[in-house]
Amino acid sequence: MKKIYAFVFLLAFLTACKKDVDNKNITDPKEGLQKISEAYAPGVSTKIELWAKSSLTTGFNQLFVALYDSVSNETITKAEVKVLPVMDMEMNGMYMSHSAPSVQPESDRAENTLFPFAAVFTMPGNTDQNKWSLEVTIKRDGQNKTGTARLAAEVGPSSPERVKMLTTAEGDKLVVAYFFPINPKIGINELEMIIYRQQDKMSFLPADNYLLTITPEMPAMGHGSPNNVNPVYTKNGYYKGKVNFTMTGDWRINLDLAKAGQKNTTFFDLTF
């Protein structure tokens, strides 16, 4: 992923440079993104904005944080940023909270003014009873204080479902999500999955020791596709492989997760 950002950044940089010469027009780093919410982090005089490529849905979401000095309104490009997704639920007057897996910004330096991170929302949260928010804690470069803000995040359902939760024979609770870096197409597709194990209500750890087997299938016909590459672990909970589609239509990717002789299965549906 980082490579892609680096590439995008580089591309943006290069084109920006070129355009500078040509017509002095700097590419907006937020082009193609939409603002989800914003909030002030008290104590560190910083405004935090939450950006995403599209409105949020359950499953893997690529997100961005943009920081501004609340006085000068200048962009802050160096800061430690930590993010915690929080779900607040109200059921018959009872309140409870839990978190969801997240991938933290890799560096304290902004990439083209943005701090990219990811969250895997495990359920929809867009009502008064179920609300997602992102607890963003920042420590600006050169400051000792940390400040935290809560940014509201409306999360709709994904269809077909892009996240699956399963409990293994050993009792591990896993969150499995998949995403395509590009739109699915006929041919070879990069397939990335992200798997986190729930440690407690508020924390998730990357599950790095599963052996994944994918079997794509067209449920309408019962056939699959040849030469798929099973995803293997890279880092931060990511598994990378290849899935092949021979035609358009409804596909199901059957997924086996094996660890120490135990096998768990789930599947993801997609249509293109």
Binding site: K185, I186, G187, I188, M218, P219, A220, M221, G222, H223, G224, S225, P226, N227, N244, F245, T246, M247, T248, G249, D250, T271
Partner: protein
């Protein structure tokens, strides 16, 4: 049709006349031996008894005619749209051309061999050259079938001529109507022909209706010719063929439509005193659109659309050089560009439509040079040398197709470039006034076809497998040899041919256990592979005897073929021994003909390809006709009964062993003017 008695008479004359005269007669014998030419007559009745044998009636289809030719068999999946097989070679192993023009079907399942896009009414002749003799039209290992288009006739004595024919066939309650018209001025002429054929489901020999055996077809062609000078002409041809609702009982789908548009402009110049003689230059373009249709089928799991297109453009130039010493050299250079694509969209219930490229858009571009030298070694022997070199290029041109093929582990982004080499040498010896021997041998190779290279999960009903292409296929190569003997006297002629082909890198489907099937219910996936070798051999005989001052004509042909792969397993789709005999009695305007067709049992089968033993069968047909000559017109009646004994039978090359039509009574009325 070359006439053997003319030749014999000429041989007699040789004793008293010049050798040059003999040479022209020798030419015709060589033609007879190296070329199977079936003249088609739609305007006037042929005086050639053999033509009557092949063209059983004025409304006989191209396929009817081909089925009777020794050396030709037809793979049948439905009542029309049969695939020609020349001595065991079919599809990409042979060239099927229309008047020298390259044209390729648009159906991934071979439901539209290009022979269906012509009708005998727009043909002058069907020329067949087997094996290496056929390399004039393109690199080939199995030969060339050339459907020669009829020209407009410039004849100031016959300004407006033509014929009308109408027929009815009982087995399929089919009607056929044909018209040919020729209008001639002093310097130009125009010819029009049209055919309408429509048939319902036919009844087989058990008197049961064969579902999905209907068809409908219209074919029209216009040909114009203009005399530029005494020795040169320019002509333009346009042919339009529309088929619809063509049933294929042996397949799970029918043909919704099959449309061909064929156009060409030809310049011809012939002046025997010039250095370049028999010059012919042609530019052409054709397009074929085809769509399969499953909407009539009751048991369809899900509906699918399967359209395909094939577009070809090309040109050629050929001429003969003025004879130099013993050498008579002919040169032909040709070029064509063919682009095809086909796709499939399936519509499952309650799910998104599924789209796939069955032939990713791809093209073949071929440029060839052909040189033939006929050497007059002596008064009674000739040596023929044919060389062809071809540069071929094939490429998948759309990105989706390239991506789709990468799923199979092939990178098809780049083109495939090949040089194809074909060489053939023939020797003719005129042994005596009665016997002529013709020997021919050569090395041939051919480029794999679109389906073999880029086909994507094409279903084959015969072996119940999905087929995927193999972009890495090598050229198929053959060492061909044949021996022909012609014995001819005034009253009879007998031609015997024996041939053999040793094929290297023979292309065949082989099961790929790693690949999962796509079509519901099929047994597996096969990919085209080059198997180390295959061998085909066989023999043909054709005997013609005319008795009682040509009142009685006896014709008898045999065709026999064997094919084995490198493990000695019989090759699929090899016809068993077939014997066809006809006796025709002719007296003035009346004729009566009895025919007998025998096919032996075929137990040399390829089980892997889904073949089973085919039983032998014997058929009888009778035909009769009477012509009334009026002042300016001629009215011909003909009546016939095919499969007289209502035999329930299927040929070995009939897919699914679908029974053929039972007793078929037909009547034709032809008006010639």
């Amino acid at each position: 049709m070359c006439n053997s008695f003319q030749f014999v008479m000429a041989i007699v004359m040789v004793l008293s006349t010049s050798t040059a005269m003999a040479q022209t007669q020798q030419d015709s014998v060589i033609r007879e031996l190296s070329l199977k030419e079936i003249e088609i007559h739609s305007m006037r009745k042929s005086k050639q008894p053999k033509t009557n044998f092949y063209q059983s009636s004025m409304l006989a289809s191209t396929e009817d005619i081909l089925a009777r030719v020794e050396g030709v068999n037809l793979i049948r999946r439905g009542p029309i749209g049969m695939e020609p097989v020349l001595r065991g070679f079919s599809a990409g192993q042979i060239n099927v051309v229309i008047d020298g023009m390259r044209i390729f079907g648009a159906c991934t399942d071979k439901m539209d061999p290009v022979t269906i896009y012509t009708e005998p009414v727009n043909l002058k002749s069907i020329d067949i050259k087997y094996g290496g003799d056929g390399i004039g039209m393109g690199a080939t290992i199995g030969g060339t079938l050339n459907l020669k288009l009829a020209d407009a006739l410039i004849d100031s004595n016959a300004r407006f001529t033509g014929s009308l024919a109408s027929g009815y066939y009982s087995a399929a309650t089919a009607v056929q109507n044909a018209v040919v018209m020729n209008y001639s001025e002093k310097k130009w002429a125009i010819r029009f022909s049209g055919v309408y054929r429509k048939g319902g489901d036919y009844k087989d020999g058990r008197n049961e209706k064969v579902d999905f055996s209907q068809y409908g077809k219209v074919n029209t062609s216009v040909s114009g010719k203009y005399l530029l000078s005494k020795n040169s002409t320019i002509k333009a041809d346009f042919l339009l063929d529309d088929g619809w609702n063509i049933g294929f009982p042996a397949l799970p789908m029918d043909v919704g439509y099959a449309k061909a548009r064929i156009a060409s402009v030809t310049y011809e110049r012939n002046n025997s005193s010039e250095f370049l003689q028999e010059l012919e230059a042609k530019i052409y373009a054709n397009s074929v659109r085809h769509a399969m249709d499953d909407t009539q089928r009751p048991a369809t799991v899900m509906h699918m659309d399967m359209p395909g297109q094939s577009h070809t453009m090309g040109a050629f130039l050929q001429f003969r050089l003025q004879r130099m010493g013993i050498h008579a050299i002919r040169v032909k250079s040709d070029f064509y560009y063919n682009s095809v694509h086909a796709d499939m969209t399936m519509y499952p219930k309650d799910a998104a439509p599924m789209f796939m490229l069955t032939w990713p858009k791809n093209h073949q571009m071929v440029a060839g040079l052909f040189v033939e030298d006929e050497m007059y070694l002596s008064n009674n022997s000739r040596l023929g040398l044919k060389l062809r070199i071809e540069a071929a290029n094939a490429k998948v041109t759309d990105e989706m197709g390239q991506d789709q093929f990468s799923v199979l582990g092939y990178d098809v982004h780049g083109p495939v470039n090949r040089i194809l080499k074909n060489a053939n040498i023939s020797y003719t010896r005129f042994l005596s006034s009665m016997f002529t021997v013709y020997l021919s041998t050569g090395f041939n190779e051919r480029f794999p076809t679109t389906s073999e290279r880029y086909g994507f999960y094409l279903f084959n009903q015969m072996d119940n497998h999905d087929y995927v292409g193999n972009p890495l296929l090598k050229n198929e190569q053959a060492w061909n040899a044949e021996f022909n003997l012609l014995c001819a006297t005034k009253d009879w002629s007998w031609k015997l041919s024996a041939f053999s082909s040793q094929v290297a890198h023979y292309i065949m489907g082989r099961t790929q256990p790693d690949l999962s099937v796509m079509t519901i219910g099929v047994s597996g996936v096969r990919s085209y592979e080059n198997i180390p070798s295959a061998r085909l051999f066989g023999a043909e005989s054709s005997f013609n005897y005319q008795l009682l001052n040509r009142h009685l004509i006896f014709n008898n042909t045999w065709k026999w073929l064997r094919g084995k792969d490198n493990e000695n397993t019989p090759l699929p789709l090899i016809s068993p021994l077939k014997i066809m005999t006809s006796v025709r009695f002719q007296h003035r305007a009346l004729f009566f003909q009895v025919e007998n067709e025998i096919s032996s049992k075929q137990s040399e089968i390829n089980v892997d390809f889904g073949e089973s033993v085919s039983p032998a069968y014997t058929l009888f047909h009778i035909r009769t006709g009477y012509g009334i000559v009026m002042k300016r017109h001629k009215l011909d009646f003909s009546l016939g009964i095919e499969n007289l004994l209502n035999k329930a039978y299927a040929d070995h090359l009939d897919w699914g062993a679908t029974l053929r039509p039972g007793r078929n009574i037909y009547g034709l009325l032809t008006l010639k003017f």
